[in-house]
């Protein structure tokens, strides 16, 4: 801070303005203890982080945490370009865990107790590592998420139709939601977020193994069955066409907007939307999260989550390590999870349990459903989430399935094209 004051004074008193500007540019790197954090939020994650950062600053004089709150789209589209150009932030909150791993900074030399990290984040640390043999610490999962359905309970009650039970199949849910939609004049029964990640859960439930014997991405009959069913549900009006059919390419679109407007009976989204649902739906209607419906092979969703990662573009690796170490402490992880209504990825905090004082009854119940749901996740779902090139299957799935939905190509052609696009994407990424 003293340096900044000196610098400001210099600018004021300098007779030569140009010299002062040059001095400022030269002086900037001296304030290396500034940590730039790129943060996106589904609910209030960045606000809670800002409060924790203030506490960190108070404990570590000379280090300033600057939080840049950006839309999720910026994390997806701009951050990779910035990192590739070598001009990224010091820390980022992101979801493409393996895809960007080559840009992560190993902070293990800067954390106080490596064993603490291994003991509490051991299950998810490999998700951030560039290779299986790597043992570095690159950051930690700020929250664990799980994909799963939300249901408009009020519509079920109005239609006087019972909700399917915990082990119900996708067909049973589709049938029930369809009857509710018909009885209540709701535009559509169901919609899934426009995302290959969301699609993967039902696909694995229908028997998709995702990987072949050699561990490479592969499409099988299970995946094809899901594509066929999903397209058919769009053609017969079960699914709201606006979500997948309303866009081109592989761009993301969520279903919460349509759900909160009462245009859908059921959606497939994920636990990270709980806060938003609570905030935006309010008392408009009753909603519940339900366990993932079953297919012939499993009743699984997809795990996921966002991670705080240190980036190689930083000029203050030590301070970055200190800040992440601070954020990873059990008290802070518990506070973050509690105030953001998220599921923590910290084994110790999970064991102790998290209280969610700001969560209403619906949100509390939903958090319970998702937390217990993590036990039902299929191994293939974990494997896909941890796979470095998982985007290679997820992105073409969105593009090609949409083409099949709007009638540009057939289901068989869509599957063939997903396979070809996937191979091409992996080939290009490996170059």
């Amino acid at each position: 801070m003293k340096i900044m004051k000196d610098f400001t004074m210099r600018v004021r008193v300098s007779k030569n303005g140009l010299a002062a500007i040059v001095a400022a540019i030269v002086a900037l790197p001296v304030c290396a203890a500034d940590i730039r954090v790129m943060c996106y939020q589904d609910g209030n994650e960045c606000e809670v982080t800002a409060a924790l950062a203030k506490r960190f600053e108070a404990q570590n004089a000379g280090i300033k945490v600057i939080l840049d709150v950006v839309p999720f789209k910026t994390i997806v589209e701009q951050l990779p370009v910035q990192l590739a150009a070598g001009h990224g932030p010091d820390i980022a909150r992101l979801t493409d865990l393996g895809g960007l791993s080559k840009y992560y900074l190993d902070i293990s030399p800067y954390v106080k107790d490596r064993k603490y990290w291994e003991a509490n984040f051991g299950a998810t640390l490999p998700w951030l590592r560039p290779s299986a043999s790597d043992k570095g610490i690159y950051g930690f999962m700020s929250q664990l998420t799980m994909t799963g359905p939300f249901v408009n309970k009020t519509l079920f009650e109005q239609a006087k139709i019972a909700m399917p039970g915990p082990k119900a199949t996708w067909e049973e849910w589709v049938d029930a939601a369809r009857r509710v939609a018909k009885a209540t004049q709701t535009p559509a029964a169901m919609a899934w977020d426009r995302s290959g990640h969301r699609f993967a859960g039902p696909a694995i439930s229908y028997g998709a193994k995702i990987f072949d014997a050699k561990g490479n991405l592969a499409l099988d009959e299970g995946y094809k069955t899901t594509v066929r069913k999903f397209v058919a549900w769009h053609k017969d009006g079960t699914m709201l066409k606006d979500v997948w059919g309303g866009s081109g390419g592989s761009s993301y679109a969520d279903t919460v907007g349509e759900f909160k407007n009462g245009r859908l009976v059921t959606i497939l989204s994920g636990s990270w939307q709980i806060n938003r649902m609570q905030k935006e739906i309010g008392n408009a209607f009753d909603w519940v999260a339900v366990p993932n419906p079953c297919g012939p092979s499993a009743c699984t969703g997809m795990p996921g989550g966002a991670a705080w990662v240190a980036l190689k573009t930083t000029k203050s690796p030590k301070e970055v390590g200190q800040f992440l170490d601070f954020m990873a402490q059990d008290a802070n992880v518990a506070e973050f999870a509690s105030r953001t209504n998220n599921i923590p990825a910290h084994a110790g905090v999970v064991k102790k349990g998290v209280s969610y004082p700001s969560a209403g009854p619906a949100a509390q119940a939903a958090l319970g459903v998702f937390t217990s749901g993590t036990a039902t996740l299929a191994p293939a779902a974990y494997a896909l989430q941890g796979f470095k090139y998982n985007r290679a299957i997820m992105l073409p799935t969105v593009t090609r399935v949409t083409q099949a939905i709007v009638g540009e190509i057939s289901v068989d052609e869509a599957v063939t094209k997903i396979s070809a696009d996937m191979a091409e994407a992996v080939k290009q990424t490996e170059k």
Binding site: V81, A84, A85, G99, K241, S247, R391, T402, E408, K431
Partner: protein
């Protein structure tokens, strides 16, 4: 005014010693470079350098951004884009969406250019007549040109989306809502309509200026000869308006090929790839998709550049042919 001129002259004269010195050093024939130099540097950095970099990306592969980290792949990107087992079936192409985007661009250009020329001409002809509130109507037709393309697209999106104004109207009249933006044929139709609505005013203005430049005595002579209106239009108005029509044709054509902003906001290139045009394909491939295939995007942009060059050459030939026709007459 004279004080200002004198001041300006004085300022310019201040440079004279510098120019004299420059001329002495460089010689009279080279002094010109001193004047065009700054512009050349700017154009070089912002136009030619990106073209060269684009070539570099087009012949390298992978997902890395820095050219030094990209392996040389020769013409592989072009072959990925252009390879098809059967050129009559887009589905057999390795990059079928690239071909679909080209096909969509050509279809859009042909339809939009024809309709844009027709409606701009008709509007200009109407607005050139002594109608009530002529100034107001000219303003009305020009107004959309002043709007940002994003605003235009958002306005139309509100009108056309499932719960939009058009569907509300249909439902109020006892009809059923339509998939204006979810059906690929309707989506394409509306993209053409919105594009014409947004830009027609500008081209109408050019044609209106052309119409007003036609000498009145030619029309008076035609009136004295009792020429019917259709004959006046075909034999006087259109031939004399031809230079303006060619300008409009070229501008509309180039704009159509480069279409991006309105379409991207209105439909996102969808549904499926129904309204994905070549510029959008380049953007999606290089930047919007989470796996950034810069090489493929660069190769596609070079192919687009070749297409645009061909269009420009055709326009030059057309202009020359027009000029030659004028000389003959």
């Amino acid at each position: 005014m004279s004080v200002f001129s004198s001041l300006l002259g004085f300022c310019f004269n201040l440079f004279e010693p510098v120019f004299r010195l420059g001329q002495k050093w460089l010689g009279a024939s080279r002094i010109g470079w001193l004047f065009v130099g700054p512009n050349l540097v700017v154009i070089g950095i912002f136009t030619f350098l990106p073209i060269i970099i684009n070539f570099v990306y087009a012949v390298t592969g992978g997902v890395n951004l820095l050219p030094t980290q990209r392996p040389f792949t020769g013409v592989e990107n072009f072959s990925i884009l252009l390879e098809c087992r059967d050129y009559t079936d887009l589905q057999t192409c390795r990059s079928d969406i690239f071909w679909r985007s080209i096909f969509n661009t050509i279809k859009f250009s042909v339809i939009q250019v024809a309709l844009m020329l027709f409606f701009s001409l008709v509007t200009a002809l109407v607005l050139n007549r002594k109608i009530i509130g002529r100034g107001f109507w000219r303003g009305v037709f020009f107004y959309p040109v002043l709007l940002s393309p994003v605003v235009v697209a958002l306005i139309w999106k509100w009108l056309l989306q499932s719960q939009g104004v058009f569907n509300a109207g249909l439902v109020a009249m006892g009809g059923s809502p339509m998939d204006w933006l979810l059906d690929r044929h309707w989506a394409f139709f509306w993209v053409v309509v919105v594009s014409i609505w947004a830009h027609m005013g500008f081209y109408t203005l050019i044609l209106l200026a052309g119409l007003q430049a036609i000498p009145k005595d030619v029309y008076e002579a035609a009136e004295m000869d009792a020429a019917p209106p259709s004959r006046v239009l075909l034999r006087i108005t259109l031939p004399l308006l031809m230079p303006n029509l060619i300008v409009v044709l070229v501008l509309v054509m180039i704009r159509a090929v480069q279409s991006f902003d309105e379409v991207f906001v209105l439909t996102g290139g969808g549904p499926g790839s129904a309204t994905t045009f070549i510029v959008q394909y380049i953007y999606l491939t290089g930047f919007a998709e989470q796996i950034h295939l810069y090489g493929l995007a660069a190769a596609a942009s070079l192919i687009l550049a070749i297409g645009l060059m061909a269009l420009t050459l055709a326009q030059l030939r057309l202009s020359k042919a027009g000029d030659a026709g004028k000389v003959k007459k």
